[in-house]
């Protein structure tokens, strides 16, 4: 037996070390830090539920667990519940937390669809339980504000963190949650508008801007003939935990239709819902104190002033054509403000936000609301024709004037068309014009391309520059960053314009061009005409240049 004693000691020592490694001896000092949301908006419950939506930045809470003891903690299981809303739910089980190790657990709460029936704000409690080492546990809790379904809180930043306007309206990226194209009531309303106001349409099928604009004006006509009225409200400042924010009660699109009234953002949400239900690409333009809806077709934006319906009590009402004209004017101002670097001007692309996980709420069908839609649709009797037309402002005339280049006047007898705006000139009638073809490059006001794509005209507006030399040098440097290399030579000054000639090369080939620049009130405007077959088109280039005013 004595001979076996050393072997026995070795075996026992080994067994003890293995037990220390595998078994959770000691208390294991688990420290918990919780970062919580101050409020949850039921309208955005699908965003809060999705860890991938908007990069996962909208969570209910995240928790830092730190093992501050000397022993490994095993099987740390985190569960939570929100009494009356979410039952005990497992979040995560962490097999091991080593001494000194940090582990982060995030909670994206899975509210049921009926959360969107919550009409008023309340304070709710989150209970968290962490069990570990096969029996030890820690309980934590905190309170948060569960808003009503119509309440929209503009920011999630505490006051001391807010540096400017975009921070105050940080949650604008969530407005897409109020765009409800799948709502059976909105689908039904859209069908009624398509059938009784537009008498059939093919905007989403044809993909033509004219059809899409007609659709936009058709939606306006529907709100016009049903005597929908504009009604404004303001957000109410509220303190929600660490957050101080404006909270606005926002009617859902179905409530706007059946209530026959809405403020600017509500009308914009309604338009976006109908446009999307019809298979189009809606956008909402947000500017200080106002919002208006728009549409993206073939890379171009169109807008309409939805609040033009006004109301008898408010005085005048705009015809659809005038509302469209007003919307396009606002869009032009929007682009100019973006160009000037005003970050209070931005737009929400509903499709793009949906791709990022901003998914609308689930809404159920409702016979009573369908009946109300039927009553409203009865007023559609005369269709868009029942909208009073004003001289020079019918849909057709408006579209015709827009097609001629937006600058007034149709194509001339010589086969040229007039461009009007910050500069005016004639260009070949067969060329295709695109206004603001690249919203992220707002200085490019228009691009006009020949049918074969070998030639083109750019209309450029560069605010803040004092000379054409300064402006063209800035263009050269910025183009170089995007792989386009430009060489140019100043030629002369003629009729108040500085004339330049040059060549721009990229991996797509080279274009020779001639450009003219002049001062405007706020900077430099210019027109450049270029072609990959410049010598063959020189006569045409000179014809365009000589018409510039």
């Amino acid at each position: 037996m004595k001979k076996k004693l050393p072997a026995l000691i070795l075996t026992v020592a080994g067994a003890i070390l293995l037990a220390i490694h595998y078994l959770p001896f000691g208390k294991g000092d688990l420290d918990i830090t919780i970062k919580q949301a101050s409020y949850i908006m039921p309208a955005a419950y699908k965003v809060y539920a999705n860890s991938d939506a908007l990069n996962g930045e909208y969570y209910l809470f995240k928790m830092l667990m730190t093992n501050e003891g000397k022993n490994t903690i095993s099987d740390a299981k985190v569960t939570y519940r929100i009494p009356n809303y979410v039952d005990w739910t497992d979040l995560e089980t962490i097999p091991r937390i080593y001494p000194g190790q940090h582990v982060v657990v995030r909670c994206y709460p899975q509210f049921k669809d009926d959360i969107v029936n919550k009409m008023t704000q309340s304070q709710e409690k989150v209970e968290i339980r962490i069990t570990y080492n096969g029996g030890q546990s820690i309980d934590e809790d905190f309170k948060f504000n569960l808003m009503g379904r119509n309440q929209f809180v503009y920011t999630d930043l505490p006051p001391e963190e807010i540096a400017g306007y975009p921070d105050m309206f940080r949650n604008d990226q969530l407005v897409g949650c109020f765009v409800t194209p799948q709502d059976p009531i909105i689908k039904y309303y859209t069908q009624q508008v398509q059938e009784k106001v537009m008498k059939g349409e093919e905007a989403s099928v044809s993909g033509k801007p004219d059809d899409a604009v007609k659709f936009l004006m058709g939606v306006y006509a529907a709100t016009y003939v049903s005597h929908m009225v504009y009604s404004g409200t303001e957000g109410i400042p509220q303190k929600l935990g660490d957050i101080s924010s404006l909270v606005q009660s926002t009617r859902l699109p179905r409530e706007v239709v059946t209530g026959n009234t809405g403020l600017c953002i509500e009308l914009s949400l309604l338009y976006a819902s109908i446009l999307k239900a019809a298979g189009l690409h809606p956008v909402i333009f947000l500017i200080p104190g106002h919002a208006y809806p728009g549409i993206l077709v073939n890379g171009q934006y169109y807008a309409i002033e939805a609040t033009g319906i006004g109301g008898e009590g408010l005085g005048s009402r705009m015809s659809p054509a005038d509302a469209f004209k007003a919307g396009m004017k606002e869009l032009n101002e929007f682009v100019q403000n973006v160009q000037a670097g005003d970050n209070r001007y931005f737009f929400v692309d509903i499709d793009a936000m949906e791709a990022k996980g901003v998914i609308p709420m689930e809404l159920k069908d409702d016979e009573f609301l369908r009946k109300k839609i039927d009553d409203i649709a009865a007023s559609f009797g005369g269709g868009a024709r029942s909208v009073p037309e004003e001289p020079g402002s019918s849909m057709e005339k408006n579209l015709a004037s827009r097609n001629d280049g937006g600058g007034g006047g149709g194509g001339s007898e010589s086969g040229m068309r007039k461009y009007g705006g910050i500069v005016s000139f004639d260009y070949p009638a067969g060329w295709k014009r695109f206004d603001y073809p690249a919203p992220s490059w707002p200085f490019l006001v228009s691009e006009i391309d020949s049918r074969d794509g070998s030639s083109g005209i750019d209309v450029i507006n560069l605010n803040g520059f004092r000379s054409s030399g300064q402006a063209i040098e800035w263009l050269r440097r910025t183009m170089a960053r995007s792989g386009r290399y430009m060489t140019y030579q100043y030629q002369n000054s003629n009729n108040g314009y500085d004339v330049y000639k040059g060549v721009t090369s990229s991996s797509a080939g080279s274009r020779q061009w001639e450009a003219v620049f002049r001062s405007s009130g706020s900077g430099i405007v210019g027109v450049s005409i270029g072609s990959s077959a410049f010598s063959e088109r020189e006569g045409m280039v000179n014809q365009i240049l000589s018409s510039i005013r």
């Binding site: 072997a7 026995l8 070795l10 075996t11 026992v12 020592a13 080994g14 067994a15 070390l17 293995l18 037990a19 220390i20 490694h21 595998y22 000691g26 970062k35 990069n55 996962g56 930045e57 830092l64 000397k70 022993n71 490994t72 962490i94 091991r96 080593y98 001494p99 190790q101 940090h102 582990v103 982060v104 995030r106 540096a163 073809p437 690249a438 919203p439 992220s440 490059w441 490019l444 391309d449 083109g456 750019d458 450029i460 263009l475 440097r477 910025t478 183009m479 170089a480 960053r481 995007s482 792989g483 386009r484 721009t504 990229s506 991996s507 797509a508 274009r511 061009w513 450009a515 270029g530």
Partner: protein, 209 residues
């Protein structure tokens, strides 16, 4: 790794040369270095060099509030706790560097391996050495083409580093680490195993007749 969303800054001219998808566009580079420790925390350093007009625009946007970058990082990395922010500018070279610690970047998975999530599918990963990997990604940020180069450095205490996928098909790194065991470290496992097996061997060895 998460694509870092930054305030940018870059005006683009397309004079006489409309944008075509197939054209070669020179991206703006963002370098991000991740230095992991043996307990799954990381020191992250993001840096960028701008040209004169970009720098001018950047300064207009950031002003005296570089904490805007801190908030952007917190939104970029919601899965971790960030601390110890440090911001530096090299104004003569129009460059900035932001560094911070990210707690909880790596954690132990259900198989007992350390795991770091890359939060993207099929990333472009280049192995530089056993402990150093480069991820390259191109993406659009507010109309500007970005090239983000993530340099991931695993500590010497790690081994068996493998590229894998999680249940959702997103790329992950798994590895072993000899750090952070406390009393329950790998040393106790190895020595315990050796002692136990040695003792057992001696006990079971047949005695002399």
């Amino acid at each position: 790794m998460k694509k870092i969303s930054l305030i940018l800054l870059i005006g683009i001219g397309i004079m006489l040369n409309p944008v075509r998808a197939q054209e070669l566009i020179k991206p703006q580079k963002l370098n991000v270095k991740y230095d992991l420790n043996g307990l799954g925390d990381a020191h992250i350093e993001a840096s960028m060099t701008l040209d004169a007009s970009q720098w001018d625009n950047y300064k207009k946007l950031i002003g005296n509030n570089p904490d805007i970058l801190k908030r952007q990082m917190e939104r970029t990395f919601p899965g971790y706790f960030l601390q110890n922010f440090n911001y530096k500018e090299d104004v003569m070279n129009r460059a900035w560097t932001l560094s911070f610690d990210a707690l909880g970047l790596g954690k132990v998975n259900s198989r007992g391996h350390w795991q770091v999530d890359l939060n993207s599918k099929n990333p472009d990963i280049t192995r530089i050495s056993d402990h150093n990997y480069i991820l390259t990604s191109n993406y659009s940020n507010g109309g500007t083409l970005m090239q983000e180069i993530d340099n991931i450095n695993f500590p010497d205490a790690t081994s068996d580093i493998k590229q894998d996928k999680d249940a959702l098909g997103k790329a992950i790194f798994t590895y072993s680490s000899s750090d952070g065991g406390g009393y329950g470290s790998w040393l106790t496992l190895i020595f315990g195993g050796i002692l136990f097996l040695a003792g057992l061997g001696l006990l079971l060895r047949p005695g002399k007749v």
